[in-house]
Symmetry: C2
Subunit: 165 residues, 2 copies
């Protein structure tokens, strides 16, 4: 098995250098056995997802094509997933049938934080939305994370309100 | 032509009383000639939409079925549109493949404000999201509108950030 890169090199590689320690790629069905559900649980603790339910949702999202993209960061050495995020493209009538990218569910494994992985995933999601013709991308986050998203190029805009059933 | 209801009665009717002054219903193709584009322009001023572009986007959204609903409020007396709003249903993996409703592009014609129309449209969009199995509905708004959405049952949650291309 390839020797894991020493931390400093991992940091450089995580920042997108050559010989990447982490590969950012679209979610795959097999990711259910590479730690995807564990990542989700760090984002929003909930009872485990069955493989069947995962597969069904995976296929529903695949049917939406490029309008809904889930990206993951795979540790090149272990094959385990270290981060994930999603973007969905909303089709509007305003702005001459404009499109808006909604970034959702960004999570970095607690053991892999501080290596720029979250920023790499978010930037890839933003580029995907740009490529889909969106005029903007939005993200809702806690006040503690506004600094992180400012680093990714976002600015504070509005208030997010929620209604729970 | 039916005599327009006196203002007080219009207010009562707008609040969903009998003999409704406004009917809340899904967007129709013919709404391009009932003031839909003028409403959008009040929401986000932009060059007029061609009928062809409107039709193409209408059909794209129709293909998403109940996961993307645009509602309008039609003045029963004139057939003109007085309000509009949309909700899109996001399919997630978290929360055991949970769904979230995103309320977007709520607008009430300047001449029809103060009659509870906006609240009626928002409540119908919320009910649609509930019916689609969403565990919550979210909306992004300016600080000035948080009171309105609180009246509709929303609570302040997070910060919305944006990145414009």
């Amino acid at each position: 098995m390839e020797q894991p890169l020493p931390t400093a090199a991992a940091e450089a590689a995580a920042a997108g250098g050559d010989g990447e320690a982490y590969r950012i790629r679209p979610l795959e069905l097999a990711d259910i056995s590479r730690g995807f559900l564990g990542l989700l649980n760090q984002l929003s603790p909930s009872p485990p997802l069955t493989e069947e339910a995962f597969r069904a949702r995976f296929e529903e999202l695949a049917a939406l094509g490029a309008d809904h993209l889930v990206l993951v960061a795979e540790d090149a050495a272990t094959g385990r997933l270290a981060a994930a995020g999603a973007v969905l493209v909303e089709r509007k009538f305003i702005r001459r049938c404009g499109r808006v990218g909604h970034v959702e569910d960004v999570v970095v494994d607690a053991a892999a934080r501080g290596r720029g992985l979250g920023e790499r995933v978010v930037r890839r999601l933003v580029e995907h939305a740009r490529g889909r013709g969106c005029y903007k991308v939005i993200i809702n986050c806690t006040p503690e994370l506004t600094g992180f998203y400012a680093k990714c190029g976002f600015v504070e805009k509005n208030v997010q309100m929620g209604l729970y059933f």
